[in-house]
């Protein structure tokens, strides 16, 4: 239960946090983490280097690490036996277009039953003074249109569903 698999970019690290045996990919690691602020700020100390690191959860098993200078590193963490389904696998059969952010639907450019091509603009969303064209993630037929102009939508809400 103290063995973790951490993915950063396309690299994978096996981290062992057993007492008296902290290793990464089998090699001992001499790094300390000091809590600076209960909301998620840490000091990552490695020998004489002390780095501020802000950590927060994006969703189950996904963590964002913010470094000095605004650099953000996304990591996926799983215990060895409960490896979660990877985003890549889920992407193979896209069922709908979802809102990438909160915003106002300005325009809907497709109708139910219409055939669309990949990258065709389906919906125009406005957020923070900026209009954004939401393009189709796949070719296919539109089964349902769930929003209409003037509607506020949350990040992640379904806008359009594809037929299978």
């Amino acid at each position: 239960m103290s063995l973790y698999t951490v993915e950063i970019g396309n690299r994978t690290y096996r981290v062992d946090l057993s007492p008296h045996r902290k290793t990464v990919n089998g090699e001992p690691i001499d790094t300390e983490m000091l809590l600076l602020n209960p909301n998620g700020l840490y000091l990552l100390r490695h020998h004489s280097r002390a780095l501020e690191l802000f950590l927060n959860s994006l969703d189950e098993g996904t963590f964002q690490m913010l470094l000095r200078g605004g650099q953000r590193i996304i990591s996926h963490v799983a215990t060895r036996n409960t490896r979660r389904a990877r985003a890549g696998e889920a992407a193979q059969n896209i069922k709908s277009l979802v809102a990438p952010m909160h915003g106002l639907v300005v325009d809907v450019l497709v109708q139910e039953g219409q055939n669309v091509e990949k990258n065709q603009t389906l919906v125009v969303l406005e957020s923070m003074k900026m209009q954004m064209q939401l393009r189709s993630p796949r070719a296919g037929k539109i089964q349902r249109v769930l929003v209409s102009p003037g509607r506020q939508v949350e990040k992640g809400s379904e806008l359009v569903q594809f037929s299978n």
Binding site: I8, L17, N39, G40, F54, G61, I73, S127
Partner: protein, 495 residues
């Protein structure tokens, strides 16, 4: 005489900034706020705060005037955006017997119509870009479309802030771009009038800050360079413009003064120019209001230009003479946006879980952020501005770089890493950029060294480990979310 009392008809960093000057002038102040801004910083920076309703109410002239009446305000500062360039608002404020802290309504109207502004500039003797001097008719004759020199810009007559502009590269593209510009203009300004203006290739954006007393006395507070733009939105601005020959600088200043004098300009304003790579400059537009990037001018001149703007509006004479204005050193501003630079610059929303803003020598922070703030999608993505002053431009850039590294905003993705990439790029360091610089700017995102990444993997595992053990044990030390607390807040309000 009634004691002046200033209502700031705005929100975010600019409202906080104006309210700071009110405090420094000893003037009582009033903020207005909507349902999503109840705990915003500008509410707490004013002596009074009036609730005006749902999020779009900052655009509601009647709601603002009612707040002024309710609070006994005698003057209204519009800030930038929202109603700042709305001539009806300026008129309504004065009709209500209040002072509008800005130009005369007729000036706002005239400069708001980009076609009228072109005519005014040409009349004052300024170089104006080739283009149509009248609105485009609904259907452009095909013959005409073919005679135009491409690429050409389609611009909304009522436009501003980079909105309602499209670039057409060929006769084929033109009709669609006109349509797109009209649609955006209609949605943004309720006016779909557009016109054509020739495109200046490799242009730098140079603008001049002016301050007029409305009686024909106009001062020039120096120029700013704002060529670093993404999707026509300025990201980084500086004063003075780097590498500008002295005589060209003087000519540009003089052009701005000429226009200001011919308009008998009142209050603060900015005259915007494009400068081509041959050293020719062209008038683009006038922004009859305070601008986002005004702090760089303040840092090099040492003036609080909002203070001078308010004093003038309250009837005091212009206390400055042109010879009192001196530019010292260099200042650069970086806009901190709630946009995820690592995900296509999508607006980001979230809660500020941790905040540490930079400080120390030569640093100014104009920010609306506070720990616990919830950043939503209702408004502009500008969160804060970081401004660095230095003895030289290079010194200012190094300070900005140092301070951007210090800026920590936990819980929300921002453009801080992208800003650093820009100011560390060789072309920017040399001061050799134009408004198209960011179109082709796609720096390799910095990657941690293999050794650091190994440590970060360790850190992530440690964090996950703790989270898991906390969830398992229902640990008393569970970090608290601001939004978990809302239940309590509502409970207290109900008491």
């Amino acid at each position: 005489m009634t004691r002046p009392k200033i209502l700031v008809a705005n929100r975010g960093e600019i409202a906080v900034r104006i309210l700071r000057t009110c405090r420094e002038m000893g003037l009582p102040s009033v903020a207005v706020y909507t349902s999503v801004d109840q705990s915003a910083l500008h509410v707490r920076s004013a002596d009074e705060a009036i609730f005006i309703g749902e999020p779009r109410q900052y655009l509601n002239i009647q709601a603002i005037l009612q707040a002024a009446q309710q609070s006994g305000a005698t003057a209204i500062h519009p800030g930038y955006g929202f109603l700042a360039e709305n001539a009806d608002f300026a008129r309504a404020v004065e009709a209500a017997g209040l002072i509008f802290i800005g130009p005369r309504a007729e000036t706002v109207a005239r400069m708001g119509d980009k076609l009228a502004a072109r005519r005014a500039a040409r009349k004052a003797g300024l170089p104006v870009l080739a283009g149509t001097d009248a609105p485009l008719p609904p259907d452009l004759p095909v013959e005409l479309i073919k005679t135009i020199q491409y690429p050409v810009l389609v611009k909304a007559a009522a436009g501003g802030g980079g909105r309602g502009i499209r670039l057409a590269r060929s006769p084929e593209e033109l009709p669609a771009m006109i349509e797109a510009a009209r649609r955006e203009a209609q949605s943004a300004f309720q006016d779909d009038t557009v016109f054509l203006e020739s495109l200046v290739q490799s242009a730098r954006h140079i603008e001049v800050q002016i301050l007029g007393d409305g009686k024909g006395n106009v001062l020039c507070l120096g120029e700013r360079e704002c060529s670093i733009q993404r999707r026509r939105q300025k990201l980084i601005e500086e004063a003075p413009a780097p590498g500008l020959p002295d005589d060209l600088r003087r000519q540009i200043h003089e052009a701005a003064l000429q226009l200001g004098r011919s308009l008998r300009y009142r209050s603060l304003g900015t005259v915007e120019f494009l400068l081509d790579d041959q050293g020719r400059f062209y008038f683009i537009e006038v922004n009859p209001r305070i601008q986002v990037e005004h702090p760089v001018t303040e840092m090099v001149t040492g003036l609080d230009i909002v203070q001078h703007q308010i004093a003038l509006a309250l009837g005091e004479p212009l206390r400055l003479r042109q010879e009192d204005i001196h530019v010292r050193g260099a200042a650069i501003e970086a806009r901190i946006l709630a946009e995820d630079s690592q995900a296509g610059f999508l607006p980001s929303t979230g809660e500020i879980l941790y905040l540490k803003e930079p400080g120390g020598p030569g640093i100014r922070v104009d920010s609306a952020l506070y720990p616990g703030m919830k950043v939503g999608a209702e408004y502009d993505s500008l969160l804060a501005k970081l401004i660095a002053w230095g003895e030289t431009r290079e010194h200012a850039i190094r300070r900005l770089q140092r301070a951007l590294h210090e800026y920590q905003i936990g819980g929300l993705s921002t453009d801080i890493d992208f800003l650093l990439q820009i100011i560390e790029s060789p072309a920017f360091l040399k001061g050799e950029v134009n408004t198209t610089y960011l179109e082709s700017f796609s720096p390799k995102p910095p990657e941690p060294s293999p050794e650091l990444e190994r440590q970060l993997a360790f850190a992530a595992a440690l964090y996950a480990h703790y989270q898991q053990s906390r969830l398992g044990q229902n640990h008393p030390n569970r970090p608290i979310s601001y939004w978990q607390m809302v239940g309590w807040r509502e409970q207290m309000n109900r008491l």
